[in-house]
């Protein structure tokens, strides 16, 4: 049996690597993915570790790569993903990579900066162009102002839709005149001591209202603003967004107003442009601007092309580069966990690895040595320790999901029996007992088949979506759940709340019913004698789905099935605990825990199951009304209530009274057996075995000087793992040999202390622990058996929901009176029924049954044997590391 039954045998190893070969060896181990390194420098600050510079360089490289990737994404260039998995490059290649990235980054930065400057220039020129064009319109009107006094008409002309209304009103006629004057007269009239000027500029369209208000307030209405919107959207050079802008021109008089206006423009971030006064100047400028814009466009185009070429060249390799850089970084992180020995020539580390894979690890080290061309071979040395090793299960794509279910409750303690292989079948089966509908089972099965068959194509999509990812990861569970649901559905004879009559019903109505003339015999009970000669061979008889007393009968069947399966499941869990006790060699547990637990459970609930089967076999149609009630019988068994002439409903086989009394007495006696004997025995052993407790370590204190000696597979026993009662002594246990040569190499003090620790024997603690176990077990027996009745409850709920949905929806549709309309009505009703079936019955009920089955496993089944106090084996593996990055992106 594979390691799924128990976790793998793990060993702590010491690794001696020569400094030159260390990098290559760690790279090979990373490709292999079977070794978990322990951090030998936990106290050291991250910045004081040996390889911190290399890690920094890797971080730099990664940053540059991310920058490049962002640029590539911005341009929408596809990144080539060949699925290549290159090995981690040598340290000297790292320098080459760094140079390449440096060059690429600086080129990109240059190109981007140039591009930005060019775009800014372009923007300015474009705005200037627009200004020149729009102000042309403004100045044209000034020509109209030759005679402004009498010409109200011109006033109207000024009142064009470009000016907001309040401007015109506020400004009034006088100011209009002034403005006209200013326009007409030209601008600087120094002779008069006044300076009439204007400024022209461009501002974001959103800011115009606030801008106007501010101008009006600050300049007290003494300025005149004209604006015109720019039709095309202009590109902002920094953000690259396209924004709407407006051209404005402000006329004012006086130096003070000029400074105020300039300040306001600055505040609103409007860009001002020098606008020439005369028409001919403006025209010249316009032409100049146009030529410059064309030139700029060409240059911009070339810059963009250059950038695109750079990015395309980078995009070809960027995935591979990412993988290489991440591998280098991981290797250096790992090397940081190593210890440097006194001679500074050798790196030492401790690692956990599975015993079965030591050969492969040795080969990987050899490969690493060859690659680095080092003369000195690396050494892998097995160590003994009292620490608890990590739990490692070898999984494939099918078993991983079941192991995850078990691990969600708690990772298995080292080398204890793993519930996962049993869960593969028992979990879907318990689900199916609760789900129990063949039609919905078919839906689940088909969905899961789709996911399983298309798994290669769907796998990349899975990382994108969380919910779909959940369904995809659980495709094998859903497959099994669907398959078993079909089976249980056929046995319950429930397919979308209808039953199948394949073999012929066993309930044949009495011909006499046809002869009865009284039509007020509404219901006629087919009594139990009217059966054909055999029960329905596969599952529940189809007649029950039609019967009025269906629920009474199915309740009886389902409750009994629940109790039978519950007790069997729990007994199975109990027997797994026996395997644990025998593996860890604890005879005390077998005799004083397992056996009384077994007897307790069997004498009460095993007896109940026996009664169920006997009642089914012994009592038939002739005994209706006389058949014993098992539940009442169980209760009176506990209360020792037997009537004096024992009624046939209570005592229905000879010697029952005596037998039951014996069973109860035995069960009650099991309780002190569980409670008292084991602590007493432990105390006795402690008192007798006192000398043993203190001779801990006959460690071989010889220090191993030969670092260069190749030592293979030192056969030291792995230590006996600690568990909650570490007091119990293993008979004939070898005291562990500790290779104390490690003490030369700064081994963390804690591990040495752990090696030497011994727990003093505290009787009260042992007693209390045992009392808790006993109470938990005895009460748990009763409560867990009752808890299994949820198998009945959920299957009843599911069946009733299904039936109600059918009766309320489809029956009304099928019995619709108006025939021609009923076609459409059936179509609509079927759609509604199908949607409700899937959403409520398959998804909601399915999730509910899933959770309950999970709870039954976690609490009722696993509490009988599972400790779940281990920690997961997390090997140093490039594959898992890259997968994590892939998900994080």
């Amino acid at each position: 049996m594979g390691s799924l039954f128990r976790s793998e045998d793990m060993t702590l190893c010491q690794l001696f690597l020569q400094s030159e070969a260390a990098y290559a060896c760690v790279s090979e181990l990373g490709e292999l993915g079977l070794v978990q390194f322990r951090d030998l420098n936990p106290d050291v600050n991250a910045f004081q570790r040996k390889f911190v510079n290399e890690v920094r360089r890797c971080d730099e490289m990664e940053r540059k790569l991310r920058f490049l990737e962002k640029e590539i994404r911005k341009d929408g260039i596809p990144m080539l993903d060949t699925g290549d998995n290159p090995d981690a490059p040598q340290p000297r290649e790292m320098i080459d990579l760094e140079a390449t990235f440096e060059k690429l980054e600086s080129e990109m930065n240059d190109v981007n900066a140039n591009s930005e400057a060019l775009k800014k220039n372009f923007l300015e020129l474009t705005e200037l162009k627009h200004i020149l064009r729009k102000t042309q319109a403004f100045f044209d009107e000034s020509g109209v102002f030759k005679d402004y006094e009498a010409d109200h008409h011109t006033m109207q002309a000024m009142h064009d839709p470009l000016i907001p209304d309040d401007d015109v009103q506020l400004l009034g006629e006088e100011l209009g005149r002034h403005a006209g004057q200013a326009l007409k007269l030209g601008y600087t009239d120094i002779q008069h001591g006044e300076i009439n000027v204007f400024v022209a500029g461009v501002i974001l369209r959103e800011r115009i209202p606030a801008f106007e208000r501010m101008l009006w307030r600050v300049c007290r209405g003494n300025v005149f603003l004209k604006q015109a919107e720019i039709d095309t959207r202009l590109e902002d050079p920094i953000t690259g967004d396209r924004v709407d802008k407006t051209v404005f021109i402000i006329f004012f008089q006086g130096e003070q107003l000029k400074s105020r206006v300039k300040k306001i423009c600055e505040g609103f971030r409007a860009t001002l442009y020098p606008c020439p006064e005369t028409q001919s100047d403006r025209r010249e400028m316009s032409i100049g601007v146009m030529t410059r814009i064309e030139d700029l466009n060409t240059v911009l185009g070339q810059t963009q092309d250059h950038r695109h070429r750079l990015l395309v060249a980078a995009a070809k390799n960027i995935k591979v580069w990412f993988i290489k850089v991440r591998k280098i970084k991981a290797i250096y992180h790992t090397l940081n966990m190593f210890n440097l020995d006194v001679t500074q020539k050798c790196l030492i580390s401790e690692c956990w690895c599975p015993v079965a894979d030591l050969d492969r690890i040795q080969q990987a080290l050899k490969r690493g040595n060859e690659r680095s061309g080092s003369s000195v071979p690396s050494i892998l040395n097995r160590m003994s320790t009292r620490q608890e090793p990590p739990t490692y299960h070898r999984l494939n794509k099918f078993t991983v999901v079941f192991q995850n279910i078990v691990d969600a409750y708690g990772v298995a303690s080292y080398r204890e029996v793993n519930p996962a292989p049993w869960t593969i079948i028992s979990f879907p089966f318990l689900f199916a007992i609760m789900f129990g509908d063949a039609g919905h089972g078919v839906i689940m099965l088909l969905f899961a088949l789709y996911l399983v068959i298309m798994e290669k194509k769907l796998a990349p999509k899975m990382s994108a979506d969380e919910i779909f990812g959940m369904f995809f990861n659980g495709r094998y569970i859903i497959l099994l759940m669907g398959a078993f649901s079909i089976y249980t559905g056929l046995i319950y004879n429930d397919i979308f709340s209808k039953s199948l009559n394949i073999f012929g019903s066993a309930w044949k109505p009495d011909p006499s019913v046809y002869n009865t003339s009284s039509m007020d015999l509404k219901n006629y009970k087919i009594n139990a004698n009217n059966t054909v000669d055999r029960p329905y061979p596969f599952g529940l008889d189809p007649v029950w789905q039609l019967a009025i007393n269906k629920i009474t009968i199915t309740n009886s069947l389902k409750m009994k099935i629940s109790v039978i399966f519950g007790v069997c499941h729990m007994l199975f869990g109990l027997s797994l605990s026996l395997l644990n006790h025998r593996f860890f060699n604890k005879p005390l547990n077998v005799y004083f825990e397992f056996i009384p637990q077994l007897i307790f459970m069997c004498s009460i609930f095993g007896y109940l199951i026996l009664l169920i089967f006997v009642k089914w076999l012994k009592f038939g149609p002739a005994d209706t009304g006389k058949a014993p009630n098992l539940l009442i019988g169980l209760i009176s068994m506990f209360l020792f209530q037997y009537e004096d002439p024992c009624k046939p409903t209570t005592c229905w086989y000879a010697g029952q009274k005596g037998f039951q009394i014996t069973l109860v007495v035995v069960a009650v006696l099991c309780v002190p057996w569980m409670l008292l004997v084991k602590p007493y025995m432990l105390r006795k052993q402690h008192l007798e075995g006192k000398p043993h407790q203190y001779t801990l370590l006959n460690g071989d204190m010889s220090q191993d000087d030969e670092l260069l000696e190749v030592v293979h597979h030192v056969d030291s026993e792995t230590a006996y793992p600690g568990d909650d009662d570490g007091y119990q002594e293993k008979i004939g246990e070898d005291v562990c040999e500790i290779d104390l040569s490690t003490s030369r190499y700064n081994v963390h003090i804690d591990s040495l202390e752990k090696l030497m620790k011994v727990k003093p024997f505290d009787f009260s603690e042992v007693m209390i622990t045992q009392a808790i176990h006993t109470i938990e077990y005895c009460l748990g027996c009763v409560s867990h058996t009752a808890s299994y009745l949820r198998l009945w409850a959920l299957s009843l709920a599911h069946a009733q929901l299904s039936e109600v949905l059918w009766t309320m929806v489809m029956t009304t549709a099928l019995s619709f009176k108006i025939q021609w309309l009923s076609v459409i009505f059936i179509f609509v009703c079927f759609a509604f029924w199908a949607c409700c079936s899937i959403v409520i019955l398959v998804l909601m009920e399915g999730m509910s049954a899933f959770l309950h089955a999970l709870r039954l496993h976690w609490v009722e089944f696993q509490s009988k044997f599972y400790k779940g106090e281990g920690y997961q084996f997390v090997p140093f593996s490039f594959d898992t590391m890259l997968a994590e990055y892939g998900l994080a992106e």
Partner: protein
Amino acid sequence: MGTRAETTFIVVSIFWAFIGIVCPILLQFCMGKSPNKGIVQIMFIMTAVCCYLFWLCAFLFQLNPLVGPQLESNLIRVMQYEWFGIDPTGHHHVKTT
């Protein structure tokens, strides 16, 4: 409870015994080297045990029924006609399958 009940019992028991006992033994030889052999054997055995027990409960439950189904009399007539081919006069008619 005639012979037909027992034949059903024997047939089904043999079927699940084949799946639960014979198949794992066959796998021992067929899949000898594969690391998944143990898992597949466990799966076969557990499937056989669970499914057989479930069927057995349903079967034994109906073997000696204490109560019969309560039906509306119209339904009984339809049942009589459709399932047992007996028309209201009491004669057998051609069964519609």
